[in-house]
Subunit: 732 residues, 2 copies
């Protein structure tokens, strides 16, 4: 029973060590035995995102990002201090050229195993790897590589002429990063998403071509089975049949030359998005048939939603499929075209993810990848708003997960990015687009990006609130005070500069220090769910902006996300349900099998497929199309955390015209389940302290808990972990 | 004759284009045809230095640097605007995954050649390469990749929903970097220094070992010829015979296991420094003999020195050999141990190089590699003084070469490094060692690094002068004013804070704002050749410090370099000649075949080989041991530039007790040749306007030029390019 390992910082302090040992014996032993590949935090994410983002092609031409790609640190020092009760043999697997030091003494060569005597030790590995990420996997009976190891890219441990090492160290060690590479042979550099073979639903064969239809939008590697002959094969991919047949304008194509006298299968090297593949053969070439290797992220679908309306159910299912296709190594924008990590798109995926997978590594990977490394030389993705969404993503991440360790790793990178922003404010303390800044907001005709746009200041304000929150977590008091002061000041400025009483709204922008006349939806809808408006302002904005057809309409699911969220936040679930059926249902009526980058009901036929001045430029499977997952989970089932990690949470079901609905919302520890009809609510939660809030025209009844009256027709029930509650009531 | 290419920025301005075309026809045609591999400036240097600096081993263990290693940008956009008189086919060779755009339109796939019609065009290549540096080689009849191409790591060229590209670009393009990879198959990533096979001078064979002696210090790959058997082979390398035989303590060793029934030659993978190799075989293993592949930098030795003193000649030759061995991909410190790029060591190599090779790429490569990338997180090599030597290296580089294009590439990196320094000043505006800063100065016993060390302020002051110089070149007027003000202020502070009238010297440091009593040589000798002292101060310092045996003596050739330079700058060539014979001659008397890292005449036997608490820790071939090259060229032949690039220069020969001397000093355009005896001086120069300055007890005679009297016994002769001057005189 003494055969164990103990980790603690004050190793000179033996009583602590012994206490620690005793503690570990009972609490931490199994944990210490689980080894995983580790690296400098963020480095694998940056490296993997480079790999992923350089997979875009456009009509066969490589199409890389237009922003700076950062790289991992090429040389990393890993170490761990520990105590072994008994000697043990420890296996070492390393990606890179490395050395191994036990208690500061280097071992010769590149040891693959090391025998460590009992007692207090420091094991260090220093790894150089230029092409992929320096990473180690250490496994003994008790000693194992995990995120308790410390790493640095700069150990600054020089020695003087007498051989003495530097005595005043300023080396900054941080906990190692890891994911789920839990065996020695699962090397980070060789990671690939899993695939499975899918057959087409339909195959149309002509003399020199095969056209296959996989029945719905999909993603992976085309496979030419029984390929034979000598000549060229051209594959034209289509999200629509029209695109696959338009060999001169389809967005994705592959051309290969083959020379194989014997039949053999060939899987294409590059992964592509498609529903159809149109394979064109030269005279002397042919194949038996076409299939594909479907590539997917093995995230677990934990959230669910089902209701009395079949169209809404289909919208939810198609949304989930859309998000799944766009959930890959990272949350990407769309599977056909960019396949890049865009912060504004990813921000929505984080939120949807909290109601579908609750897969945190995909969130943190995406946040690491987007942030990259210092120095900051431009906004994230070059887009000002996308920088702010990055901060907001961290705000939400903490609220949903309560994960402080991630905040600690990120805080220095947050500080330098915020410094970049603050250094770009104008004399009035606002941010306007400087040369090189892309002020995006939304794809919309004639949307002005000039001057100081109110929407950008609003997001900056929220970002400053995120900084203040994280400064608190980091116990950085001066930081917290400063960021609080900055956000409070900016919030008040926003109302001074942009609120227009005549227009009952925030105007779109200031130009040369003067309010413009332009009212758009963006700043107004965000101010609702940011809770920046007074109740009166909310009502004004609802009437004069959100429900006012004269204000320019939104045509992207991207901004419809926030528009509908704002309406939901004001209790307009019935209106929003109709909008969902109309807008997302509209795409389904056009045969959509995943949701689109943009949808304008006024267009018809193949005109829907055009964008960016190109016939098939539009992406028919875009992550931001999947927002019903979020809306239905947060505003219909009505589940949201009110303290980090769902330690406290709210369930506020709203049928919005549905006869009944039921579903499940994932949390860090188990799920929250909700069923709701006009007569009965059933809820249960595996985590924290929940509050069910609902309205009823009669006094509700629940035998599992005591219902409190909160106001006229409003009732509250406290939800304890592990209990199932049934409430009989009568919906208002 | 119209078959040509023209490069100019204002392509819309056709008259300019036509003028340019005409100009190009006569001036630039041959030039345009020379293609070379290009990359983002500094990136290849950073990448190559990572490769080089991770070759250090210590008793078979990998021993990487302890500072941050930066990386190249993984994604680079290259482009060139040009006009073709006739269509031409252009070949493209690329290291990395790439696309090709002609006039903004992407070509499909990875074209290896492209046909460009006549007219005005922009050719762009965008290259992704994580493991090595994105690089291109473009060659047509007239269009060719060279440093006139522009590159960026962040093109920020987004498009809007209509397909329009961003209209306000803030993309920063800089001229591409290049070296001498002038053919398509000479790819940068596969670069290796050349090798040639050398045989040992002596071979001692025992039953299970072979000891070979190559006659002098050398560097390369051991080669085991006719190796056969099954078992282990161990190679113990020695700079001394003692080291090679000390199998338990030699610094460098290799262990391999072989299993080869047939005889075959084996070249070791890792390059090593040695004079001796002691090869130990297991029972069943043997080899016919041992040779080596000598690896070297193919720099041309342009400088020369020869004189009446054979010992000095040998010192010069051995210095040249020492520098050559340490001139590799970069200027490194020593070939046995570190093999790292150390700024203080390299600084001396730059200066020696100006009198031996005048190889500028090795200087700029080293400066790029040392600087690395932003953000600055520590001093260069973690050493405060080494940061300053980096600035000083640029100062000298400009003086010797006049190369403004390099200054332009470097200026932003200079600015951010200087910002780092300035942000670390204390309340008195001085820099003292903060945690993580290594204040090195020299290897010397009991040398205080506490408080504000005068030597560091002196180097900071010189660095600020370098910033002011470069700000001027960059036409950065506010920068120039600011840096001038900072350097002037600091220079005056140095005298206020450190000059001590009683001690007739600058004291070593201030601690808690108070002068210490300690006087060391460092700040005092630098102030002489920095010309910071008045003439009176110089004389005081010479007497009370430099020639005062009570002041702690210097035992490294590193600081002897500056000590002797200071004495030479004060006309003490006779004294310095004796010191050289004593100190460097002392090493020769001990059998040195290259000069050492440290030499203490008071030690004896194998004790000379110890350092860092290790029996053979000392490097017996250290670049900083080669300073006689610099001293003899600059202060005996007396040649130095007085305007950038030797546009003006001085020849001030000083025999210092020699009967005669002759030599050659390389310049950007040809050489300056000097012969001097007590009766005759012969000089000629291929460049600029020179001034011969000398003293004579009689009126000198020269038929090729008019001698001017400059003062009592002092004469001057103006040297015109291409003329050989003979002056008959009588040395004082």
């Amino acid at each position: 029973m003494m055969n164990t390992i103990c980790t603690c910082k004050k190793l000179k302090n033996w009583p602590v060590v012994i206490l620690c040992l005793v503690f570990i014996l009972f609490a931490d032993m199994a944990k210490a035995q689980k080894a995983t590949w580790i690296w400098y935090p963020g480095d694998y994410e940056v490296w993997l995102s480079n790999k992923m983002q350089n997979r875009r092609t456009e009509r066969g031409a490589f199409f890389p990002p237009f922003w700076k790609l950062d790289s991992h640190y090429a040389l990393i020092d890993f170490h761990k201090d520990f105590v072994l009760a008994n000697p043990e043999k420890v296996d070492l697997t390393v990606e890179g050229q490395y050395n191994v030091k036990l208690d500061g003494k280097a071992l010769s060569g590149y040891p693959k195993a090391i025998n460590i005597p009992a007692g207090k030790h420091r094991l260090s590995l220093k790894v150089y790897n230029q092409g992929s990420v320096p990473a180690i996997y250490v496994k003994g009976a008790h000693l194992a590589s995990d995120t308790s190891w410390l790493v640095t890219y700069e150990d600054k441990e020089w020695i003087d002429a007498s051989g003495k090492t530097s005595d005043v160290s300023a080396t900054q060690y941080v906990p190692a990063g890891a994911w789920n590479f839990d065996s020695a042979d699962k090397t980070p550099s060789t990671f690939r998403l899993p695939t499975e073979e899918h057959r087409p639903e339909k195959t149309e064969r002509k003399e020199h071509s095969i056209l296959v239809d996989f029945g719905k939008e999909t993603f992976g590697y085309a496979k030419l089975n029984g390929l034979k002959g000598k000549g060229n094969v051209k594959l034209c991919y289509g999200e629509s049949k029209e695109e696959a047949l338009a060999t001169a304008t389809c967005e994705l194509l592959d051309s290969i030359h083959i020379d194989r006298p014997q039949k053999a299968d060939l899987t294409m090297e590059g992964s592509r998005a498609f529903r159809y593949i149109n394979v064109l053969f030269d005279d002397n070439v042919n194949a038996d048939d076409i299939s594909m290797l479907y590539e997917y992220s093995p995230v677990e679908q934990r959230g669910s939603f089902h209701c009395s309306d079949q169209e809404i159910n289909k919208i939810w299912d198609i949304s989930a499929y859309t998000l799944h296709l766009n959930t890959r190594e990272f949350f990407i924008d769309g599977i056909k075209r960019d396949r890049w990590v865009w912060s504004g798109d990813a921000y929505q995926s984080y939120l949807m993810n909290y109601y579908l997978y609750f897969d945190l590594p995909t969130v943190t990977r995406t946040l690491y990848a987007l942030r990259g490394k210092d120095p900051v030389t431009s906004h994230i993705n070059t887009i000002m708003d996308y920088t702010f969404y990055w901060f907001m993503g961290i705000y939400d991440y903490y609220q949903y997960t309560g994960d402080k360790s991630f905040i600690k790793q990120m805080y220095p990178r947050m500080q330098s990015l915020m410094s970049y922003c603050l250094s770009r404010r104008d004399k009035d303390g606002l941010m306007e687009g400087l040369p090189g800044d892309w002020v995006f907001i939304d794809w919309a005709d004639k949307l002005s990006k000039q001057g100081e746009v109110s929407f950008e200041q609003l997001l900056l304000c929220r970002s400053l609130e995120t900084m203040a929150l994280c400064a608190n977590i980091m116990q950085d008091k001066p930081g917290s005070a400063r960021y609080n002061q900055l956000s409070t000041g900016l919030r008040s400025k926003i109302f001074t500069y942009y609120w227009n009483n005549q227009k009952h709204a925030l105007v779109h922008s200031r130009i040369n220090g003067k309010q413009t006349n332009n009212v758009t939806r963006y700043a107004n809808m965000f101010s609702i769910f940011f809770n920046y408006f007074t109740e009166a302002q909310k009502q004004e904005v609802k009437k004069y902006v959100l429900l006012n057809d004269k204000v320019q309409k939104i045509t992207t699911p991207y901004m419809r996300f926030y528009e509908l969220e704002a309406l939901c936040a004001m209790g307009e679930q019935s209106y929003v349900l109709k909008e969902m059926k109309d807008y997302w249902g509209g795409m389904l009526n056009l045969g959509a099998t995943t949701f689109w980058e943009e949808y304008d009901p006024n267009k018809s036929g193949a005109a829907h497929y055009a964008m960016y001045g190109r016939q098939f430029g539009k992406s028919l499977c875009h992550a931001w199309g999947a927002s019903p997952i979020y809306l239905l989970g947060k505003y219909y089932l009505g589940v949201k955390p009110t303290a980090p990690a769902y330690k406290q949470y709210m369930i506020e079901p709203k049928l919005g015209g549905l006869q009944w609905m039921e579903g499940s919302v994932p949390t860090p520890k188990g799920d929250i389940k909700v069923y709701c009809s006009a007569k009965q609510i059933k809820v249960s939660g595996d985590t924290g302290i929940g509050t069910l809030l609902f309205t009823s025209s009669t006094m509700p009844v629940c035998k599992e808990g005591a219902i409190k009256t909160k106001g006229k027709n409003t009732y509250e029930l406290s939800i304890t972990k592990g209990t199932k509650y049934t409430v009989d009531y009568s919906a208002l």
